[in-house]
């Protein structure tokens, strides 16, 4: 795949139009995981628009985004930064050996209170 095709795929997978962004930073102003995002929500949008996808695919932020939709809710331009993060995360976990969580890591952290919902959602987000 050429780089252009990879950029095109990522755009399509996100389903959002990054060119609508007016660079106001409201998404990052609202993001509850901001401190844990090495690449900030507004940067996901602008870096995809500029085609800097290799950096995006290396980001740690994809594991810390909470998918809480606060950025999507409040974007004044109808852009969905969280959908860009998800598109990047999907792209990463679909690659061989790039899962965010290994099965063997789970048992030690599972306590008897952990709801199934947590395991299912984390697996859906982090693994393929």
């Amino acid at each position: 795949m050429t780089k252009e095709e990879r950029i095109e795929n990522l755009n399509r997978l996100s389903g959002t139009d990054v060119r609508k962004c007016m660079k106001c930073g409201k998404c990052s102003g609202r993001c509850p995981a901001f401190k844990d995002m090495d690449i900030k929500p507004h940067q996901f949008v602008s870096m995809l628009a500029k085609g800097k996808i290799d950096e995006l695919l290396e980001s740690e932020a994809i594991w810390n985004c909470l998918s809480c939709m606060a950025c999507v809710e409040r974007c004044p331009r109808g852009v969905a930064p969280a959908a860009v993060v998800e598109a990047v995360r999907d792209t990463v976990v679909r690659m061989q050996g790039k899962n965010g969580i290994k099965a063997e890591e789970i048992p030690p952290i599972v306590d008897e209170l952990i709801p199934q919902q947590l395991l299912v959602s984390a697996y859906r987000k982090y693994n393929k």
Binding site: K20, K23, C24, C27, G29, R30, F34, H42, P76, R77
Partner: protein, 663 residues
């Protein structure tokens, strides 16, 4: 035999880059009836017009077709040229090969083919054109200004100074509008009241100006030069001719808990009140929803104390009807409601306020006498944070898609004024872009930063919340790529503005067009910016688009110049393309009169000869050509096909359709 001349315009490259103009001119030469065909770079230029004039004379043309831009743009230009060469101006037809063709196509072959068809269509029509002569209608030498803010005031003063009568219809109890609520004005920081109130007084004292306050336009009939307007004079329950503005009623009124609209509801006013000290007219008004006498029948204190007997609880709305030659719309704006922006906490926190509320809090005549105190506890705020673009530039559906234009400058003004008055107060401004085009505007904003030390932060706020009595403003600082939270005492929202909602009714009454954001549409964005497409209607101030005071005043004066140019004429040429019935076919059914929006159609009883010396009297339609606007509604409604439009007859339109279908 018809002798048609065809002129194809390049419009520089606007047409010529997509349409093969030479080919069009060449192909058209062989059309029956065409005796001359030419193309030229700019047909509207002096040389282009000369080409038409010469051809008319040299080739004895009986009709002219110009393939060029929209007839809205230059039909009048080419008609005038033809007239100067001795041809009746209504023997000119325009084929729109720019907007309808070159601008919307990419493929040259297709566009050229379409241009040929469009020109053929115009030829088919011009062959059936008949010479028409414009009639005349008188001009009523009086103007109506709807809205008494700074736009309406300026327009009225300029028109009146030229010697024409002007009525200002203002829906509120006083003129002055939004500008009266402001504290200082950018970029020179002169006090708003000091520069506005003298103009208000000028209006009141001008012998040519009649202020109809607390009044609304109820109905509009007629047309340019001769509008007939019905005005509702709302009952103020105070006799305007008697009230001296002494304010004793305000002091004595026991019902003092009404929200003070003029102060953006930041404090209260009595049920009988004068909106502010410099109100024009300086006459009280009673709020019937709050007045104890009017709600319960008991009280009447104001009436007892009024020394001149001006109070009249029984007063009713009255109506007056007046004639005007021109109408200026200056209905102004309001800040948008913030229901869709709860993330900024406006509804939950008293100390989150709008910029217009801050104007009142900073104003010497405001609820705090100009001392900046926070609404919640009356304490002096030590940290003030401004948020710009609240509801502006928002395409998500929550706000307005446009830039409200005035907020960057007034926020810089507010920030500067607070730092000037209270140097111990920290001021932060969250912004997306600072937009300051205008004379001395950017310098003004930079002064706020460089001289007054206002902290400008590039980024938007995500959330404002209350924590331990402080307003936490959490937002982006994009330059440093960080998320910051500013502990603030007062948060000011630079709220988007929108046209005053009553403009919709006014626009409907005037058949003036309005855009998706409720701004009135100008006739041409660049060349006719103060004229509505409806003849005789002019636009001043924010009703046409966001603008600040200097721009509003310029536009109002421009409106006045247009109005004066109209009123100075004794008669106007009327459009000869009016409806006319074929009386032999008319059966007097009244359907045309029912659809006529202008009241141009009446019925007469007329005697017709039946042959053999017999006659009969029949009821037939009759069109007043001075009133008819040529809209054509009657021609399509007429069941017997008796009604036709001069210059746009059914026969002409059918021949155009045939020309298109022939290919």
């Amino acid at each position: 035999m018809q002798r048609i001349g065809v002129f194809i315009c390049w419009c520089g490259s606007n047409i010529a880059a997509t349409v093969d103009v030479e080919k069009v001119a060449e192909v058209i030469k062989s059309e029956p009836g065409v005796v001359y065909s030419a193309n030229y770079q700019y047909m509207c230029s002096e040389n282009g017009q000369q080409l038409i004039k010469q051809a008319i004379k040299e080739h004895n043309l009986t009709g002219v077709v110009v393939g060029a831009c929209s007839p809205r743009m230059h039909e009048a230009t080419f008609r005038k040229a033809a007239e100067e060469a001795g041809l009746n101006p209504y023997m000119v037809e325009i084929a729109n090969i720019r907007e309808h063709c070159s601008w919307i196509h990419k493929d040259m072959d297709e566009a050229t083919e379409k241009a040929v068809i469009l020109v053929r269509t115009a030829i088919a029509k011009v062959k059936l054109n008949a010479p028409l002569t414009a009639g005349e209608s008188p001009v009523v030498k009086r103007a109506l200004v709807i809205g008494g803010g700074i736009a309406g005031i300026q327009a009225a003063l300029d028109i009146a100074d030229a010697g024409f009568e002007v009525d200002i219809v203002e829906k509120n109890a006083t003129i002055g509008g939004r500008m009266a609520q402001l504290d200082k004005t950018f970029p020179t920081l002169d006090c708003s009241a000091c520069i506005l109130t003298p103009k208000m007084v000028d209006c009141a004292q001008h012998e040519k100006i009649d202020i109809l306050s607390y009044s609304e336009v109820e109905d509009v009939k007629g047309f340019v030069g001769n509008f007939s307007v019905k005005i509702r004079r709302k009952a103020r329950f105070v006799d305007e001719t008697k009230c001296t503005g002494c304010k004793i009623c305000m002091e004595k009124c026991p019902s003092k808990k009404g929200l003070n609209e003029f102060n953006m509801n930041l404090n209260t006013r009595p049920a009988i009140y004068i909106p502010f000290a410099q109100a024009i007219p300086n006459v009280a008004v009673i709020d019937p929803t709050q007045c104890i006498k009017m709600k319960t029948g008991k009280c009447g204190i104001c009436q007892k104390f009024c020394g001149v007997g001006a109070i009249d609880y029984e007063q009713k709305d009255t109506f007056i009807e007046r004639q005007y030659g021109a109408i200026v719309v200056a209905t102004g704006f309001k800040p948008i409601a913030l229901d869709n922006f709860n993330e900024y906490g406006y509804a939950d926190n008293k100390d989150v306020i709008t910029s217009l509320e801050l104007e009142r809090l900073m104003n010497a005549a405001g609820p705090t006498n100009g001392v900046l105190l926070r609404p919640s506890d009356g304490e002096h705020p030590k940290v003030v944070t401004f948020i710009q673009c609240v509801g502006s530039r928002d395409t998500s559906g929550c706000g307005k898609p446009y830039c409200s234009k005035i907020c960057c400058m007034y926020t810089a003004k507010h920030a500067m004024m607070i730092r000037e008055k209270y140097p111990d107060t920290e001021v932060h401004v969250f912004y997306i872009d600072v937009r300051t085009p205008g004379k001395n505007y950017d310098e003004f904003y930079r002064r706020a930063v460089e001289q007054y030390g206002v902290d400008y932060i590039k980024g938007m706020v995500g959330k404002v919340y209350n924590e331990n009595g402080k307003l936490m403003v959490q937002g982006s600082n994009l330059i440093d790529n960080e998320q910051i939270t500013i502990e603030s005492d007062l948060v000011v929202l630079a709220t988007a503005i929108e046209p005053e909602p009553s403009v919709r009714k006014v626009a409907t009454l005037l058949t003036a067009s309005i855009d998706t954001n409720n701004f009135l549409t100008e006739s041409h964005a660049k060349l006719r910016p103060v004229e509505s497409p409806t003849a005789g209607v002019y636009l001043a101030g924010v009703c046409q688009g966001p603008k600040d005071i200097p721009e509003t005043v310029s536009q109002a004066s421009a409106c006045a110049a247009k109005v004066i140019g109209l009123l100075v004429k004794d008669k106007l040429k009327t459009n000869p393309c009016v409806a006319s019935p074929d009386e032999n076919m008319c059966n007097g059914c009244s359907q045309c009169a029912n659809v006529c929006a202008y009241g141009a159609i009446t019925y007469i009883d007329k005697e017709f000869r039946l042959g053999g010396g017999k006659t009969e009297i029949r009821r037939v339609a009759s069109v007043n050509p001075a009133v008819c606007q040529g809209c054509g509604a009657c021609t399509v409604t007429c069941p017997s096909g008796a009604m036709d439009l001069k210059g746009f007859s059914s026969k002409q339109i059918m021949s155009e359709v045939e020309a298109i279908c022939k290919m």
